[in-house]
Amino acid sequence: MIMAEPIPSTEPEPSAPVNENELVRDARRGDLKAYDELVKRYQQRIYATIYHMTSNHEDANDLAQDSFIKAFQALKSFKGGSSFYTWLYRIAVNKTINFLKQRKNRTHMSLNDIDFNAEHDPDLMALISEQTPRRAAGLTELQEKLNEALLKLSEPHRLVVVLHDVQGLSHEEIAEVMECNVGTVRSRLFYARQQLQGFLADYLK
């Protein structure tokens, strides 16, 4: 079983839990400044999760905004049983899965650009043939095939791959977000990887 590496995050890590609790408390009272701060903290992760699930920037933008708005409206019902981060993730994931169920068989990819650093990623460099004259073109093709393969997975299987292998969440965190046990997460992850391996066999030799 492989383990995900820590995500090279470009956003600031959430600060001390006390500060976050204060922000949540203020936001619950209707303080939009406090909520704005919370949005800034988690916007990249929430957007990225939704984007990797939908493979569509516009859908991800709408769903991410809707998720944050729904979370603000539901803040009063947030009891603090889990972390705000997990609770927010759950809202975003549920919203995305509902959207994908409605959109079934009407998938339209609108992929984001690959950043410049990708060409220097050792993992990716190993996959791209050294003889490829236009590396960027190779990466773009790979990106399309990868997203197509991910969209072939069922939503729960795609979600575990995205949360674990792309976002770097632990099995326990994923279990909390998906409200299932850790064993289910592990088995889903194994099955999803097997399927992806089959879909992408030509690119994994």
Partner: protein
């Protein structure tokens, strides 16, 4: 098993590409602002909605939605009112009647004239067949009418404003 591990390792390397997919530059600079703006706009709409909900008409309509029996009773009452209005409007002699009744009660002579009045309509069809340029009643037939009217007429002093 080792081969599987190696294959998963290759897959993990490939999935690393997903982390390099980034939204357009500056996208996250406006994101939180858009979210809070939408929340504010939503709150504004909610306030307007609450104001609208507090109007009496909205409360009445809400009561109709909540209790269909109330809506039925209200509709029945409206129909009854309409029906009563129509029936009442089709009775032309309703207003003068109390005057005549008062006159009858006041003197036996008035009672006699009211009998004469009742006999007048029987003669009217013949009179009505005349040309439209002729008067409807001749002086003979109008006699008993005016005689009966004289019994109830009283002098009235009209004081118009500004005419002191």
């Amino acid at each position: 098993m080792n081969e599987n591990e190696n294959n998963f390792e290759a897959l993990r390397q490939l999935l690393a590409l997903k982390r390099h997919e980034i939204p357009p530059p500056g996208y996250f600079e406006n994101f939180s602002g858009e979210v809070t703006a939408r929340i504010r706009a939503g709150e504004g709409r909610a306030v307007k909605r609450r104001r609208h909900e507090s109007s009496w008409l909205f409360r009445l309509l809400s009561a109709f939605e909540a209790k269909p029996a109330f809506a039925g009773a209200f509709a029945s009452a409206l129909c009854m009112l309409l029906l009563f209005g129509i029936v009442y409007a089709e009775r032309p002699d309703v207003a003068p009647q109390p005057l005549l009744q008062t006159a009858q009660a006041a003197s036996p002579l008035a009672a006699a004239t009211s009998v004469a009045l009742n006999s007048v309509p029987a003669e009217q069809p013949a009179l009505m067949s005349d040309s439209s340029t002729n008067p409807v009643f001749n002086s003979q037939s109008a006699g008993p009418w005016f005689a009966s009217q004289e019994a109830t007429v009283q002098p009235v002093n009209l004081v118009l404003p500004g005419n002191n």
